[in-house]
């Protein structure tokens, strides 16, 4: 279970390093670095916190990961979850923070 930080997109704001419940990400030379990939819980707090969508979340191959990655872009209360499959296609799911779960 882990994340991948896209170095070219990262603007070094440090928000992910603040919010991670395991304090697993560090800022080095104004770029976020995942220091402990195997210690990631997969809570995606960092992914939701990143203002520029620079953090991708993926499933480790040991738990069935097949190469897809996921990130989220927030627009007010709407979270646009973008899942990019290995063949390059995207699936987008929009979730409104004001809507309750139906189940």
């Amino acid at each position: 279970m882990s994340i991948r930080i896209n170095e070219t997109h990262c603007i070094g704001c440090g928000r992910c390093t603040e919010v991670c419940p395991g304090t697993l990400i560090e800022l080095k030379e104004k770029k976020a670095v995942m220091r402990y990939p195997k210690d990631c819980w997969g809570c995606v707090s960092c992914v939701k916190e990143c203002p520029v969508g620079a953090i991708d979340f993926f499933l480790g191959a040991d738990i069935g990961g097949m190469g897809s990655t996921m990130h989220v872009e927030s627009e007010g209360d709407i979270l646009h979850w973008k899942i990019r499959k290995p063949d390059g296609t995207d699936k987008i799911i929009d979730v409104n923070r004001k809507d309750s779960n139906r189940y």
Partner: protein, 564 residues
């Protein structure tokens, strides 16, 4: 170069260790009801720390229309085979609804029907959007008057003298600073303990577990070492979860009514019973009988429900949504495989934790416990953590106003200084033969094989427990030698030591309950049946470095007070 830590001393009226659900809500309630200064010391950042990081799927503990708090007590008591504190359950249950309404006022979205009533899910749940539960709560705590939050501070030790708490000591996980904090009252709200046993996914995804891997049992360990009484560690919690992602199943089981079926399509859940532990046990047995894998039968749901499930999981366990999409099949097109997790110690689900009075004060004067770290009150979940935070907060305010707890910042400074010295010792130690990571793996293997982990089908006997005890003690010696290159590695060292302390107490509890009251949670093969002689609490306290077991009669009174 010799590493030295800057040493800071802080005075506050109330110290809260752990800014999770219970800790944040306690801070808010102390602020609402007094002018006391409150300090939250949190090892991560309260915005997303603890159980609520990814979000929660529902409010699991709510008194729905037509039910009473006593109904909740009866349900939880039966589910735990009678080994609960009814006074704690009732006082929590009486607060469930009010805390939910308070969270709604703070900004939590709760589903309502056309008449403005909360929509129930089954007999005890209500439906919410729990994705931002923690940021909402954290913001309220941060903005509350007289509340200061110190993020990224890991507390390791309580300052206790003659069974009275005076504060705590910890260090920053980011900077080279050690903290000595003095307070009139201390609330420990550090959550439960994960990572004691070898996890479901021991490789790259070793932290893809159900309970937060960063809740390492620090609160239990510091209490045990300070001589606090603990209860029911042997009532371990094993969660039944979606395979691989270890995502919660409530949304599928209660939400869309999916049944537990084996590989042959047979609905086995009725065969073994419907308590929480029996559901786990049934799944283990079916696998042993060659009927695995087991599933939650989602392939009967309507296609329209697919999209709602994908969204619901994004709000609490996004990896499961990703998993469905990766596989190219929606829940309506394939059943969800389920498995039992490794055992956890968690007082929000089972009854393990500090032995407290009805006001949530522990057996150490001035030290309170709330949420998953507090025992006796199983199935309290998120609203129960809030309720206990509030109950503790109100008693702290009352006792301080009555001058029951007084300040003494001068006391125990030497002890604090010794603890800080030991941080420096670890930072300056030469790297030994074994890394912390290797020792952690060794601990998890011992617990897995000899103390009823996944590979042992959660079962054990006394001989195995004796071996576990011996090996854990050996690892404790090795952990004494551990070294750290920076503050984060120092955190790893202390997390390992905490877990080992918890493991040792857990083994003592497993040995002491010579019966099998809950399958899987405490399955002792030397005593495979329930025994009326154990309609008691198994409690423990450390005396002169040894764990002393105390069997206590079930508490029947509505208001329980410690005798010392």
């Amino acid at each position: 170069m010799e590493q030295k830590l800057e040493r800071k001393k802080i005075d506050t009226d109330v110290l809260i260790i752990g800014g999770g659900t219970a800790g944040c809500y306690a801070a808010l309630n102390i602020s609402r009801n007094s002018n006391l200064s409150v300090l939250i010391a949190e090892k991560a950042n309260i915005k997303r720390s603890g159980c609520l990081a990814a979000g929660v799927n529902a409010i699991n503990a709510y008194i729905v229309e037509g039910r009473t708090p006593q109904d909740y007590v009866d349900y939880a008591t039966k589910d735990a085979g009678g080994i609960v504190r009814e006074d704690l359950l009732l006082s929590a249950a009486e607060h469930f609804n009010e805390t939910a309404e308070d969270m709604e006022r703070l900004g939590l979205v709760i589903l309502k029907d056309e008449n403005g009533k909360y929509v129930a899910r089954g007999n005890r749940n209500i439906k919410i959007n729990g994705e931002n539960f923690k940021p909402i709560l954290a913001k309220a705590a941060e903005e509350a008057e007289n509340v200061t939050v110190l993020n990224h501070i890991n507390i390791t030790d309580l300052l206790v003298l003659n069974n009275r708490v005076y504060g705590a000591v910890g260090f920053s996980v980011k900077e080279q600073i050690a903290y000595e904090i003095h307070a009139k009252a201390v609330l420990v709200a550090t959550g439960g303990a994960a990572g004691l046993y070898k996890p479901n996914n021991p490789g790259f995804s070793r932290h893809k577990m159900w309970y937060p891997p960063f809740n390492t049992g620090a609160g239990y360990a510091m209490g045990i070492l300070a001589g606090a009484e603990m209860t029911s560690f042997e009532m371990r919690f094993i969660a039944l979860r979606c395979k691989d992602t270890i995502a919660p199943t409530g949304t599928i089981a209660q939400g869309v009514g999916a049944k537990q079926v084996n590989a042959r399509g047979f609905v086995y859940e009725d065969k073994y019973g419907l308590t929480t532990s029996e559901r786990v046990y049934g799944t283990v047995r079916e696998n042993q009988l060659g009927n695995g894998p087991c599933y939650l039968k989602t392939s009967v749901i309507r296609k329209e429900q697919d999209e709602e499930l994908l969204k619901a999981y994004l709000n609490m366990a996004p990896s499961q949504t990703l998993k469905w999409i990766e596989s190219g099949k929606n829940p309506s097109e394939q059943d969800v495989e389920i498995q039992g997790t490794e055992p956890y110690i968690v007082g929000g689900h089972t009854a393990s934790g500090y032995w407290v009075n009805t006001n949530r004060e522990t057996t150490i004067h001035g030290l309170y416990a709330a949420g998953d770290v507090a025992g006796g009150c199983p199935q309290k979940y998120v609203t129960g953590a809030l309720a206990e935070g509030e109950i503790a907060a109100l008693d702290i305010v009352k006792k301080i106003s009555e001058n029951v707890f007084i300040d003494d910042a001068g006391i125990l400074q030497e002890k604090a200084s010794d603890i800080m010295d030991s941080y420096e010792t670890v930072l300056n130690a030469k790297a030994g033969l074994y890394s912390v990571e290797e020792l952690e793996e060794a601990m998890q293997k011992v617990m897995d094989e000899y103390a009823g982990g996944i590979s042992a089908n959660y079962q054990f006997n006394e001989k195995q427990l004796a071996l576990a005890e011996e090996k854990i003690e050996g690892l404790q010696k090795l952990a004494e030698e551990a070294s750290a290159g920076d503050m984060h590695e120092l955190l790893f060292v202390y997390e390992l030591r905490e877990r080992l302390v918890v493991c040792k107490s857990l083994i003592a509890h497993l040995l002491a309950r010579k019966e099998t009251r809950w399958h899987s949670f405490n399955e002792n093969l030397d005593y495979p049946d329930e025994d009326v002689a154990f309609e008691k609490y198994v409690n423990s306290r450390m005396e002169d470095g040894k764990i002393k077991i105390i069997l206590r009669d079930l508490v029947k009174e509505a208001d329980y007070e410690h005798q010392n």
